[in-house]
């Protein structure tokens, strides 16, 4: 299987692997290609993400970052290549069961508007038939800084935008999954609220240690939250490195220009 030779590419990534090198990567994409009609969304992308690592995917609109994210829980099926989660090929299993093991935070929260907060957060435990879903949901609410006593019985429409995103993060974490996918999770929030949620995210990840893939159009956010940042351009991986190395050693003129414009370089 793949994932047994994380050092093979010699790009320094090994410095960021907290786990044993013999352990398979938590997430792996191997030469993944995807077309939507005439449009090439992914054009042979390969990358490995170690357990406990947070990787941000950045790039312009249409660069393929969201498509790549969606391959990991099989919301998108690649035309070519392989996607592995915990060393297993996702194409072999049931996508519904796969998704129930992976946390997911969409941009607009995507809370079910007719369910109260606690029921929303208990969605995945309920789908998996877990006996104490509500207790787990309460714990997850507490984790993201929402007191269950105050929020469990409220309707999503009665929450602020930031509170809604916190609930969405809590929902993704209710069963403490090993992998969490976040698709521009804080993109629609105002700057102050976004900063609050970013610190919450950092704190929660420090506590739980899950593997995360984060799509964002905000390069500063990527640099703040991620261990490594992958720059995608027209469906290809331009560079993947730590923020520090991206800043000091951009691999291509495109990356350099991107960082310069984002004023993080």
């Amino acid at each position: 299987m793949h994932g047994h030779a994380p050092l093979a590419r010699g790009d320094g990534r090994v410095l960021f692997l907290p786990m044993s090198q013999s352990r398979p990567a938590a997430l792996e994409a191997v030469a993944v290609a995807k077309r939507f009609g005439p449009v090439t969304a992914l054009d042979g992308v390969s990358l490995e993400i170690a357990a406990g690592e947070c990787v941000a995917l950045i790039g312009e609109s249409g660069s393929g970052k969201t498509t790549l994210l969606r391959c990991f829980n099989r919301l998108t099926h690649p035309d070519q290549g392989q996607v592995l989660v915990g060393g297993a090929d996702v194409a072999r299993g049931d996508p519904v069961l796969l998704r129930r093991t992976i946390g997911y935070v969409p941009q607009e929260g995507g809370l079910l508007p007719h369910w109260r907060v606690l029921r929303n957060v208990a969605l995945v435990p309920w789908l998996r038939g877990e006996p104490d879903g509500e207790a787990k949901a309460s714990a997850a609410l507490r984790l993201v800084g929402l007191e269950p006593e105050a929020f469990a019985r409220r309707w999503p429409r009665d929450l602020s935008g930031g509170q809604r995103q916190r609930v969405a993060v809590a929902r993704a974490l209710a069963l403490r999954p090993e992998v969490v996918l976040l698709d521009e999770p804080f993109g629609a929030l105002d700057a102050i609220t976004r900063a609050d949620l970013q610190s919450t995210f950092l704190a929660v990840r420090r506590e739980l240690g899950f593997t995360a893939v984060l799509v964002t159009h905000d390069i500063a956010e990527a640099f703040l939250l991620a261990d490594r940042v992958a720059v995608l351009r027209e469906g290809r991986l331009e560079q993947i490195d730590s923020p520090e190395r991206l800043r000091t050693a951009p691999g291509t003129p495109y990356v350099a220009e991107l960082l310069r414009r984002a004023r993080v370089a």
Binding site: L97, L98, P106, G110, L111, P113, H114, L123, L127, R157
Partner: protein, 510 residues
């Protein structure tokens, strides 16, 4: 609810022996047809034959269709209508020739029989005030042609345009008027009586001819085709019920045009109830025992509320029947259209086609839909339920499909991403979020349904359409209102109850 529908369908299909089945008497929805049919019915009953009344059937196509399919056994028809409208042949001048022609053809094609004519014609007529006729010596249309240039005519727009109306009359008699005004039937007689016009068109048995003491000019060149009234009987009655045929034949040749005009006048002008007019006509003819009431209440002068109060038992049972028609057809439509609409969400390619198909049904005129169904389902409750069911599909289907398709796309996407199956998404996300839209579709269908159900009267299914159809036929606005007001209240009530139910399906506690 579907079990009840099934029971009704099965009930309609039960085969009964000829003697056990009642004779179904039909009529078309106008006064003369009502009173003749009621006379048929009372005469049959007086001869010990069980009768079922299906009065006020749509129009010629529906009444004739009911007879052909065996859903009705007898109704009053006119030989001219049989020749021109049903057989589609050219008019002939001689009444006996027309009667022979329709008798032969109807028996050959459908096994139907025209019983001997009742004794009067109801054809086009040209009438003048008695004073005008006396002073100018008018007895016939030829007389009118001599002096026409001095007279003003008030004619229905229809008559002015038809080839067998004014244009034909001008050709046949060389008739010319000083002026021709288009007048609607409702004001024609008053205009003539008030001297606004001198000549009008009408039908030879109109009650108003008697009411205003008008003179009908003789069609001495036999321009108007003969429309002799007779009982038209269906194959089953003709072949298996000689007792009923004999009873109905007793009326042959007994009603002259004066008598019919008088009966129509009592009905249409004086507003007397149809059963009483029919009974007394039979008593006068010596066909029925009994006496004739002398003290009659001038019932037409009652207000609408007083009338409705007097009719409350009838109206209550009509309302109940109306409600039953609505609930069964609407319930069946919900049971079909909601699951189909949900299913269509899974096959978006075919969805629009299916929904447009239901939309096309919606554009069919109610009467046309009912007429189409007579060959398949006969007349009565079953075709009415099917028609109402079909009319209810579109709003429910459209709203269900649009509702589930457009329900909270972010919530649907998140549900899928977190591992809900398509079925779970439908059940727990799309359906509850679409529920208010689906309910709105059901409410729309319900209100349309209450209104459309009034048409059920035209195929003998009963309900609040009965007094509306009869009131229209007799130009009795009080009778129309006695059906229309409860129907309007029923629509409000059904909508209100469904609106109340909507609170329970609204997601997220409102």
């Amino acid at each position: 609810m579907s079990a009840l529908l099934l029971a009704l369908l099965l009930g309609a299909a039960v085969v009964q022996t000829p003697e056990a089945t009642p004779v179904v008497v039909g009529s078309k929805p106008f006064g003369e047809s009502y009173v003749l049919a009621e006379m048929f019915a009372q005469l049959l009953e007086a001869r010990g034959i069980r009768v079922q009344r299906r009065l006020g059937l749509g129009a010629t196509e529906i009444a004739f269709g009911a007879l052909r399919s065996g859903a009705a056994d007898v109704y009053p028809e006119y030989t001219g209508t049989g020749l021109l409208a049903i057989l589609g042949e050219r008019p002939a001048a001689d009444p006996a020739e027309v009667y022979d022609r329709v008798s032969r053809e109807f028996r050959r094609r459908w096994g139907m029989r025209w019983l001997p004519p009742l004794g009067f014609e109801n054809t086009y007529a040209v009438a003048v005030r008695r004073g005008t006729a006396d002073s100018l010596g008018l007895r016939s249309l030829s007389d009118l042609a001599r002096v026409g240039a001095r007279l003003r005519a008030g004619l229905t727009p229809d008559f002015i345009g038809r080839p067998d109306g004014l244009p034909g009359l001008q050709g046949a008699y060389g008739l010319r008027f000083a002026g021709v005004r288009a007048l609607l039937p409702a004001v024609k007689y008053q205009a003539l009586a008030a001297g606004e016009v001198d000549v009008i068109d009408g039908y030879s048995t109109d009650g108003f001819i008697a009411r205003y003491d008008l003179v009908v000019l003789r069609d001495d060149r036999r321009f108007f085709p003969p429309y002799e009234a007779a009982a038209l009987i269906g194959r089953r009655l003709a072949e298996h019920r000689p007792d009923a045929v004999a009873a109905l034949t007793e009326l042959g040749g007994r009603l002259d045009v004066e008598t019919m005009r008088r009966l129509n006048r009592r009905l249409e002008v004086d507003g007397e109830p149809i059963p009483r007019v029919a009974r007394e006509a039979l008593v006068e003819l010596g066909l029925l025992g009994g006496t004739i009431e002398t003290a009659r209440s001038a019932s037409r002068r009652q207000g609408v509320w007083q009338y409705m109060w007097e009719q409350r038992r009838t109206l209550a049972s009509l309302t109940a029947r109306h409600l039953l028609l609505v609930l069964i057809s609407l319930g069946a439509a919900v049971a079909v259209a909601v699951p189909v609409g949900l299913g269509l969400e899974r096959l978006p390619g075919g969805a629009e086609g299916v929904i447009r198909g239901a939309g096309v049904l919606q554009t069919l005129p109610g009467i046309a839909l009912l007429a189409f169904m007579i060959p398949l389902l006969g007349i009565g409750v079953v075709p009415a339920l099917v028609a109402l069911f079909l009319y209810s599909l579109y709003p429910i289907l459209r709203n269900t499909y649009s509702g589930v398709r457009d329900a909270a796309p972010e919530a649907v996407a998140a549900g899928r991403a977190l591992g809900m199956t398509p079925r779970q998404i439908l059940r727990w996300v799309r359906l509850p979020l679409a529920a208010p839209v689906i309910m709105a579709g059901i409410r729309t269908a319900a209100v349309i349904n209450v209104g459309t159900a009034t048409l059920a009267a035209f195929i003998g299914a009963g309900g609040l359409g009965d007094p509306i159809a009869a009131g229209l036929a007799l130009s009795d606005s009080r009778m129309i209102l006695s059906g229309a007001l409860p129907a309007a209240l029923l629509a409000l009530l059904v909508d209100g109850v469904l609106g109340w139910c909507e609170r329970w399906v609204r997601p997220g506690g409102g």
